[in-house]
Symmetry: C2
Subunit: 603 residues, 2 copies
Amino acid sequence: METQLVLPKYSKTVVLKFVFGQSDGGVRFIGQRVVVGGWVKSSRAVSKDPVTAAPDAGVHKDVTCVEILQSRFPFFRSILKVLGGAGQQIRDKLDTDLPMPPQLTGAILQVSDGSCVANLQVVVDSSLAPPGRIMPIGTCILAEGILQQPSTQGKQIIELKAEKILHIGTVDQDRYPLSKRRLPMANLRDSAHFRQRTTTVASVMRIRSALTQATHTFFQENGFLFVQVPIITSTDCEGASENFQVTTLSGKGKIENQSTADDAGGVELEVMKVSIEEKTKQVEELKRTDSNKEALAAAIQDLKKTTELVSQLEAKEKAKSGKPTSSGNKDKVSEDFFSCQTFLTVSGCLHLESYACALGKVYSFGPRFRANKIESRKSLSEAWMVELQMAFSEIEDAVDCADDFLKFICKWILENSTEDLKFLSKRIDNTIVDRLQLIATGVVEYISYTEAIEFLNEVTEKQFETKVEWGVSLSEEHESYLADEIYKKPVIMYNHPKEIKPFYTRLNDDEKTVAAFDVIVPKVGTLIRGSQNEERFNVLSTRITEMGLAKEQYEWYLDLRRHGTAKCSGFTFLFDSLVLYATGLDDVRDAVPFPRSFGKANN
Amino acid sequence: METQLVLPKYSKTVVLKFVFGQSDGGVRFIGQRVVVGGWVKSSRAVSKDPVTAAPDAGVHKDVTCVEILQSRFPFFRSILKVLGGAGQQIRDKLDTDLPMPPQLTGAILQVSDGSCVANLQVVVDSSLAPPGRIMPIGTCILAEGILQQPSTQGKQIIELKAEKILHIGTVDQDRYPLSKRRLPMANLRDSAHFRQRTTTVASVMRIRSALTQATHTFFQENGFLFVQVPIITSTDCEGASENFQVTTLSGKGKIENQSTADDAGGVELEVMKVSIEEKTKQVEELKRTDSNKEALAAAIQDLKKTTELVSQLEAKEKAKSGKPTSSGNKDKVSEDFFSCQTFLTVSGCLHLESYACALGKVYSFGPRFRANKIESRKSLSEAWMVELQMAFSEIEDAVDCADDFLKFICKWILENSTEDLKFLSKRIDNTIVDRLQLIATGVVEYISYTEAIEFLNEVTEKQFETKVEWGVSLSEEHESYLADEIYKKPVIMYNHPKEIKPFYTRLNDDEKTVAAFDVIVPKVGTLIRGSQNEERFNVLSTRITEMGLAKEQYEWYLDLRRHGTAKCSGFTFLFDSLVLYATGLDDVRDAVPFPRSFGKANN
């Protein structure tokens, strides 16, 4: 059965996922001419016997690229080392022009185009390109050739016999951070622009993309409208968050000078104070020695001036250490780009709710920001969240939706990312498929916050580091104990104390708890935080006051309660945590394309 | 034909879009019991005759809510006006408790749930709720009842006869910004949390959501992976952009004090300089008058000290006006959250390309930021962009993709947003459907930048405000002339001078132009900016130097060329401008949920 290859649009290259994705693994395409582009994942030199189209024809000697270069051109290597980066061109030229040692007749490359886990074996005769030039890990190659049965023994069922090399993107092996194979994830983090070329990170990012697609599909199938909430905001959506400020005011120079000026102020004052003492002595001396009147008058005049200056300086120093006057501050903020203080949003919930209170069911999906000065494997400064808000809906509705949503996306990944899950099961964590199935097909456990506290207080078999007490948030160890050890499935905890939830969460009739819920899953903990929102103007207004928040910031949100208030519920879904859940990774910084965390924003 | 209503999930309310979306406009549901929730768009009081289920049975007198309240309760109204906002509760109570005037027996409400353009007519007997309480525009109502044939003459083909009112969210009419109907768009901008309750803005936002959905669908159908590029970045992706800084350093107080300290520095210096003159005179006077040695020595010592202090102050003032020393600046930046200067991203292209150079075809969709201090109907500080990058692809591929993409989303909107387009054609611009069809089914015009300049230079029938010259960007008037007046269809302009395109655009063989293209469409101008990227290390490195950019910032991007470079192309799609194109709006601030522009970030 031969299928004509459908060439992908917008490129001359055939996508490997399409080739390997056929039921026969691409065997049907044997004999066809294609262009393939990708990066070398591993390579072998072919020595002695020329590579032929017949399988198992040649006896291949495994030689790595590094071995070739180091053993055969030691003199040139040492010269190039001295030349460093500038030697790149010369090195390329040498690689091209130098006659290949007679025993190297070609190279066998395992090439990935990033579309799937599998590599294509590409056989390149040395007449097309010097093996030493194309063999280093990370080399980019664009080759035209014929798909054929493999010429070597191995797991490949097809290979490309190159007939033309259209492009080579060489690698500077000394500087390329991925020259070594199987680097630990933590080391790869510093190469956020390269690590996606590893099979593991590529798999993670394909799963991340599939989860994104699943998210949009779920909400659109269920009639949600997508609303782009703002990143720059003048509202602190959760009250008292650690915010990033957005400004066009603080230029480099200004920040630096301010510091010098501050320091200098103190020094001057000390010098002047000493000066006053001396001048006082001088005046007394002039008086005592009965010197001429003019000199005395001048000295007195000078003392007076210096004293005035000192009191001016003292007042200024005092102002510095104290709080700024509100009018002065307002003036300065009014010079900023937006004429007010603005932050990176910590949550789009409030903005989104104003759309729910007009359009019904709405969702958003984007980065949210927290300037928490901690380094942790669960914390990002820029984290991706899915948020949704539904009008005419109560807490049970939001819980149902959260449950359906989780089931939907886990099922989606199981069906659409089979190869990536298989690879990550082998490489990272062999329980990921079971864990996804646990959510996709399983049931959840419901437990109220109060029940959870009572339960945890009775635990004797385990010692917790932090004490469990009604009124405080459960810590990671408690959540993990419930989800991983006791229930071994997703736990939905509800009715939290009002103090530990945002001000807009709806107050229950007991006036102590609020209509909130958390979905806690094994391995990663809290995945979803949801609530019914407070639709009663007076109760909401009181809550804002109670929590000591700056009410003027929330006037627009209170407007939603003043005019045509509706019951609303919704939730926030911690997208990055789901990537951990689905891939088996332990650190959220490995699950995000360009992680931002305390002290780290490299590019 | 009767269809059982499928109740929507996650709410008890039926979605109006589903009801009206039936081929018979919902007539099939007559007789069924439903719960409907929404906001009152207009209302009429029913007087004298009770509302009955039979059509055209009652003789209705049109009375608006405001008329009722003002004519019937003048005394209470004036009291409530005095009470202001605090009167809300009392007013609600009055509305509830006051006996209705005998002639008002109910209300007919036009209710929207935001899911579609059409309103549902809801008939509420005064025994269920006081008409004056539910009739104001913007009132939220949740009602259970039976769908029936309309009881009034009009365009409705079904209505809801309410049997139970489950919730009323009243409106404080004096303060509700939408109490007046048909407010100009510019006035609505100040109520970003409410304006989506108007039929026009709701339509625009539904179209925006549909365009988002179309975007994701196109890229996913064509094998693109979604990559979340960072918002916080230490790289200026286009070089020399007007950036927003992201910081946790600049507290309110510090900014204010800095200004005072700066000013004070100059004043002190002047005072001290005067003081030196006087002290010099004093010393000379002491010498001249042959005064005692101790007094003279003290005066000389004092002069010396003051002179030293002045030269210290002068050095400080000089540093202030000049550039800061790099070491001092570095120290301060190192205290910031990320230990380096960070900005809001102006473009995700570079980050995205590092993923293309590993995974093949990738796209992103998110806000990008520019701190341009201008107010314009085309400019936003936070604008939404679709960006894509494809490895092994050249400029022609990117142009093909841009063309297909535009056709796809315009076709999508024509097929999926029929009702909203119909409404906006009537309300805003009756050419939007033609315009969308122009792209969806039409051809584009190709013209090189050089040809365009030559052509525009020969134009005599029109006077341009700015001169056309090779080497400068075309201004809006030139683009508009080409797309709106000459070609009357999308124009793809290519091969721009290298000076007017970003540093990473690939240099053509003439070494003057680059492999860039813009898609310019009638009405909104540039919609897409694309390019093939410079894959040659040396050329890229030279371009960065030529343009005077800070090279160290781009080292990571240069790495992509050092190690396994591939030909890449892609484009940036100005999403908000497409919303203008598709809706007929003129100002981009009306096309974004929460617009951010110079001086405006209200919530």
